[in-house]
């Protein structure tokens, strides 16, 4: 046993216990007979069969679609914001970005209920419109736009942070050099700033996508459960249905789908290549 291995052993055991073990447990559980609670049953594929025969694909598609939509909107919203932050605050822009993370100290549910009060009929927004401007508008609460609004709001910091980092990492000299070589502002952006900040954009997109696929509260609170994402299905399986093996099987499938998508994207865009390191 090499000294390196010996030294790494405690950490490896820690990793095993803290990271691998729960994953293995969930995976194993997904092969237990439906509605059982022990690890000792005879392994079966029944849960997976149930899922493939059911309409669970609707929830999967909703989760993926909502996450994809959120990522696209966030990229469009966060990039200009990050760009502005870097331009205005320069090397302090990361600090400025931290301000956007302050809301994270308040529980997500409380923030979402705040949005409910804002969006609800006769609430902050519609009430004000009605009282002061006489405008009677339909509430978007408990609809798809409300869910997307909530997700964009909740995951903004997770997109903004890597993006700001990405943009602030673009060396000023390369901008100057491109301008000096005749590039217009737009050409500098397209040829230099955008490609050089791509790692930040990619990390932001991956991070928010993975987080957003796991979103549940937005659809429940702002969407009034009008849309059932896969996470909600998993929650139902583990709570009301008390069908832990089914919930475990849904979890395993979700991990596989998300994992495959992430690997696919990372294959397509090698971060090291983007960073020009290899």
């Amino acid at each position: 046993m090499s000294p390196g291995f010996r030294n790494a052993l405690p950490v490896m055991l820690f990793l095993l216990a803290g990271f691998a073990a729960p994953l293995i447990a969930v995976t194993w559980f997904s092969f237990m007979p439906p509605r059982t609670f022990a690890f000792t049953g005879t392994p079966t594929l029944e849960n997976y069969e149930t899922i493939f025969q059911s309409t669970s694909y609707i929830s999967f598609l909703w989760s993926l679609a909502l996450a994809a939509l959120t990522v696209v909107l966030l990229a469009l919203i966060a990039y200009p914001v990050a760009y502005g932050l870097v331009r205005v605050f320069g090397k302090w822009s990361m600090l400025a970005t931290l301000l956007f993370t302050i809301p994270l100290f308040v529980s997500e549910n409380i923030r979402l209920y705040g949005w409910v009060l804002f969006l609800i009929k006769n609430g902050v927004m519609l009430g004000t419109l009605k009282t002061y401007f006489g405008i009677q508008a339909e509430s978007i609460l408990f609809t798809l736009p409300a869910i997307v609004l909530g997700m964009v709001y909740v995951y903004l910091p997770f997109m903004l942070f890597p993006m700001t980092l990405g943009i602030s990492m673009v060396p000023q000299d390369t901008r100057d050099a491109a301008t000096d070589l005749g590039a217009s502002r737009w050409q500098v952006f397209r040829e230099v700033e955008l490609p050089l900040s791509l790692p930040g954009i990619m990390i932001g997109c991956l991070l928010t996508f993975v987080l957003a696929v796991g979103a549940i509260a937005e659809a429940k609170v702002l969407g009034g459960q009008q849309i059932i994402p896969i996470t909600h299905d998993i929650e139902i399986a583990f709570t009301y249905s008390q069908n832990w093996p089914l919930g475990a099987a849904l979890s395993v499938l979700l991990m596989l789908v998300v994992g495959a998508l992430v690997v696919l994207v990372l294959r397509r865009f090698d971060l090291d290549v983007l960073l020009g390191r290899r």
Partner: protein
């Protein structure tokens, strides 16, 4: 570049270390739960019993460490015991049928000292006089729990939009009127949602259902979820009712409407239909909580102590108005306890109609083919997604 310093591997290591630390911490917590049971009490309950108002006087008078975990679903609590947590919990507080029909036969709970606890039932409201069915085992020999909170639970309307009389007369058919699509919400409470859907479909939930009924249930579940403006928790329902987003919501009663009523919205009212498909033509369903002692090999001596403690008039009143939701308690049959309730409090729990509503309600029971119906309902809910 700064980004290179946070490599993927590095990040994973960090995350795993934290995860392991949390896991380790959790296990350490479990270990301490084993020792020193004399001064320790663990309660698995519906919300209310876990409030500081109820627990703090007990903690200070006994010098005890009391831990209470609240869940909002009976099967979850029972499955916790089934999964081996009988050596953690001392008391379990669930709805009426579970103790008698499931937990005692499965030896998850143990009988109480009948001589010591039966007298408490005699100061309760008349319906709960000993021997009270849900507090006894099948043979009627053993006392297996104590009744305290209860209430009718069918649906809730905003009486400014739909009058109480109309709602009581129309009953479950409110959900069979296509004109009402988009006007109602559904309070998420999956077992209760199953009961309500059965009632809307026109048959008794608490029996085995034939294929025709299952088909009717499937159709009803799809239709009702499709027509729902929203599905959510109690706070969301009350907010949506008050704001006018919805006019009424499925599944609810004093338990869910009382916070809004206590908050100055008497128009929000739990309704028990005058008639319905339940046994004896009853229109609604009511629940009664039974608190039992868990069959813990090292059960805390404080478990029975706590059961007696909550019988005291002032504590019973506190339990009725613990944080969250407000509910009638059986001890209101005792004048010493009843006088503690103010007019506003009685109004919040719809005391004016409580007796007649209970009389029109069947008691909560176990649906024999619940799993099947729940799966159908879950699928219906999912398929209504985005609709």
């Amino acid at each position: 570049m700064a980004l290179a310093q946070i490599s993927r591997r590095n990040f994973m290591q960090q995350s795993a270390l934290w995860a392991a630390a949390f896991a380790g911490g959790g296990m350490a917590g479990m270990a301490t739960a084993q020792a020193a049971r004399e001064k320790e009490l663990n309660i698995l309950c519906w919300e209310g019993y876990n409030s500081a108002q109820v627990l703090d006087p007990f903690r200070s008078s006994r010098g005890a460490t009391v831990k209470a975990e609240s869940l909002t679903n009976d099967p979850t609590m029972i499955n916790r015991l089934r999964a081996g947590e009988t050596n953690i919990w001392d008391l379990i507080n669930v709805n009426n049928p579970w103790a008698r029909k499931i937990m005692l036969p499965e030896k998850l709970i143990k009988p109480l000292d009948r001589a010591k606890f039966e007298p408490f039932f005699n100061s309760m409201m008349p319906e709960f006089k000993a021997p009270y069915k849900w507090a006894m085992d099948d043979s009627g020999e053993q006392l297996i729990g104590i009744a305290q909170r209860f209430g009718p639970y069918s649906f809730v309307v905003n009486t400014d939009k739909v009058s109480r009389a109309t709602a009581e007369d129309q009953g479950w058919n409110l959900w069979n009127d296509p004109a009402n699509a988009g006007k109602y919400g559904i309070l998420e409470s999956d077992d209760w949602n199953v009961f309500c859907l059965c009632c809307i479909a026109g048959f008794d939930p608490f029996k085995v259902h034939n294929d025709e009924e299952v088909a009717k249930f499937t159709e009803t579940a799809k239709r009702v979820f499709k027509g729902a403006k929203l599905v959510g928790d109690i706070a969301t329902m009350n907010q949506a009712l008050v704001a006018g987003e919805i006019d009424f919501h499925l599944t609810g009663g004093t338990y869910s409407a009382s916070p809004a009523r206590a908050d100055g919205h008497p128009e929000i009212r739990g309704i028990t239909p005058k008639s319905g498909p339940l046994a004896g033509g009853k229109g609604g369903i009511a629940w009664i909580e039974i608190t039992s002692v868990v069959n813990n090999p090292q059960v805390s001596p404080l478990a029975e102590d706590f059961l007696a403690y909550v019988q005291a008039p002032d504590v019973a009143h506190t339990v009725a108005f613990a944080e969250g939701t407000y509910n009638p308690v059986t001890q209101m049959g005792n004048p010493e306890c009843f006088k503690l309730f103010s007019k506003e409090q009685l109004d919040a729990i719809q005391w004016d109609s409580l007796a007649e509503e209970m009389a029109r309600s069947a008691e909560y029971d176990i649906v024999p083919d619940y799993d099947k119906l729940l799966d159908i309902m879950t699928a219906a809910k999912r398929e209504a997604s985005g609709g």
